[in-house]
């Protein structure tokens, strides 16, 4: 049975077209996926991402444990700051990618993917020492407000509902909380913005307040074209258990600076961090008409060298873009097999739309 978020009725009122995703009925768009994409790049859009999983970690051993569990090093965070990291298997394969916030040395918050919820929770429970508690946050909604005007409009909406959190002075990748509200200046679109966690009971009223400030609802379709333009990975497509972060374009999530930090997967990941794995991630821009899509074969001079992991049409650049994983020996231009036609593509810099602006 698919679940609904606390904002379901708001989505219906805005004429959402629903799709089933990670066990939830969520809006894919509210009328125009491309229109919603442009709205996020030009002003502000909001996404209901309440299906994602929030887990609070607390106890005196919390920091040491997370330094062991995660590929990036939470010791370099100060209170109220977040970082992007992977959680890997012993062989370096990625179990999930996630954002971890440090609130104090003994209290952390993890936001993990909806689709990997059961797997992640089981893994964490299985690797947790005594003295560290895991609490999944329930009855909580998560709204992402993204775009050049997002922070300004979200701040006004917060005032309207009586929340006095000073988000305009929040640094990127920093968070603050007040009672049951938690706000991070993070996002998945390449734009400035905030991700706001709040009790389900207050979600509809806050969504309404955001609407009144001019923020437009945006669905999962726009979320995907935005994140791909920004070069951000999607677990299950660009990331999976069979490849390391270094083979997926996110070697930056592997921190080997502290030689004494023994984290799960360190042996393989240290090697991959320094020398790369067998595969690497590349960005592709299609030279001809068509749309690059997950699973298409990437060829070089007739040889199969890899696969498109995520592809789409970029509304901002008006051409097709993709992330692909290819055998590292490859360099230069290539062809992609699109419905049995070979179309030329060239490697492009990722992100395709850096800081929300189209490349010249």
């Amino acid at each position: 049975m698919t679940k609904q978020t606390a904002l379901y009725t708001a989505h219906k009122e805005h004429s959402a077209k629903f799709v089933s995703f990670a066990g939830y009925e969520l809006p894919i768009h509210y009328g125009s996926q491309i229109g919603e994409h442009h709205t996020v790049r030009q002003s502000a859009g909001m996404f209901d991402v309440s299906h994602m999983t929030t887990v609070d970690i607390h106890g005196a051993g919390a920091m040491d444990w997370l330094r062991h569990l995660l590929t990036n090093d939470v010791a370099k965070l100060s209170d109220g700051r977040a970082l992007y990291t992977c959680m890997c298997r012993e062989d370096g394969g990625v179990l999930d990618d996630l954002i971890v916030y440090r609130m104090t040395t003994d209290r952390f918050r993890l936001i993990v993917n909806a689709a990997t919820r059961e797997k992640d929770l089981a893994w964490m429970q299985g690797h947790k020492p005594a003295g560290v508690e895991l609490d999944e946050l329930l009855d909580t909604s998560l709204i992402a407000v993204q775009g050049p005007d997002a922070v300004k409009l979200a701040a006004q909406a917060l005032k309207e509902v009586g929340q006095t959190l000073p988000i305009e002075s929040l640094n990127r990748f920093a968070a603050l909380e007040s009672k049951d509200w938690f706000i991070g200046r993070t996002g998945y679109t390449g734009e400035d913005g905030v991700e706001i966690s709040l009790p389900d009971a207050q979600a509809l009223a806050f969504w309404q307040a955001l609407t009144e400030q001019g923020v437009k609802p945006a669905g999962l379709g726009a979320r995907d074209t935005l994140r791909l333009e920004a070069g951000l990975c999607l677990y299950g497509q660009d990331l999976d258990e069979d490849h390391s972060p270094a083979e997926s374009g996110i070697a930056t999530t592997i921190d080997i600076n502290d030689p004494d930090r023994d984290f799960i997967g360190r042996e393989t990941l240290e090697d991959h961090k320094m020398f790369g794995g067998r595969f690497c991630q590349i960005g592709l821009v299609l030279d001809g008409r068509g749309v690059l899509r997950q699973g298409q074969i990437v060829e070089r001079v007739g040889r199969d060298i890899g696969r498109v992991t995520s592809g789409t049409f970029s509304p901002t650049r008006e051409l097709s873009i993709a992330l692909a994983r290819v055998d590292k020996e490859f360099l230069g231009g290539c062809d992609v097999n699109i419905r049995n036609r070979l179309v030329g593509a060239h490697i492009a810099s990722v992100p395709f739309v850096p800081h929300g602006r189209a490349r010249e």
């Binding site: 894919i28 768009h29 491309i34 379709g221 789409t312």
Partner: protein, 129 residues
């Protein structure tokens, strides 16, 4: 979206309008464009191409997926909508007007008469849900 009364429909969601000169104009229905989402490319057929009924002769591509458009009846392609190269979104905003895809000369006009009326098509779509 209201369906214009003078149209006929194929089960694969193409609409057909009989023109005064005996040719027919073809596009995809409001229901179809809504299912597809925002279109980014339309591949129109070649003029003078001779097609069978139900032959895949055009392609519409949205961000989500590519979909084939089928000839509603057998005939010869007379013309294609040149505006769709620059503005594929016309198929979404005006599926029955500016978003027409091609014109063809049917082998038998009777084949067009045998297609669904707007009411039958409406019922057909509801049954498909």
């Amino acid at each position: 979206m209201e369906i214009p009364g003078d149209l006929k429909f194929a089960p694969s969601h193409e609409w057909v309008r009989i023109e005064e000169d005996g040719s027919v104009t073809v596009g995809i229905s409001g229901h179809a464009q809504e299912q597809l989402g925002d279109l980014v490319f339309v591949e129109t057929p070649e003029v003078d191409h001779v097609c069978e009924a139900e032959e895949g002769i055009a392609v519409v591509e949205s961000v989500k997926a590519a979909s084939d458009i089928y000839a509603p009846v057998a005939g010869k392609i007379l013309d294609t909508n040149g505006n769709l190269a620059e503005n594929p979104e016309l198929v979404n905003s005006e599926p029955y007007e500016g978003g027409w895809i091609f014109k063809l000369l049917p082998d038998e006009l009777a084949d067009v008469e045998n297609l669904m009326d707007p009411d039958d098509y409406q019922a057909y779509c509801e049954a498909e849900e």
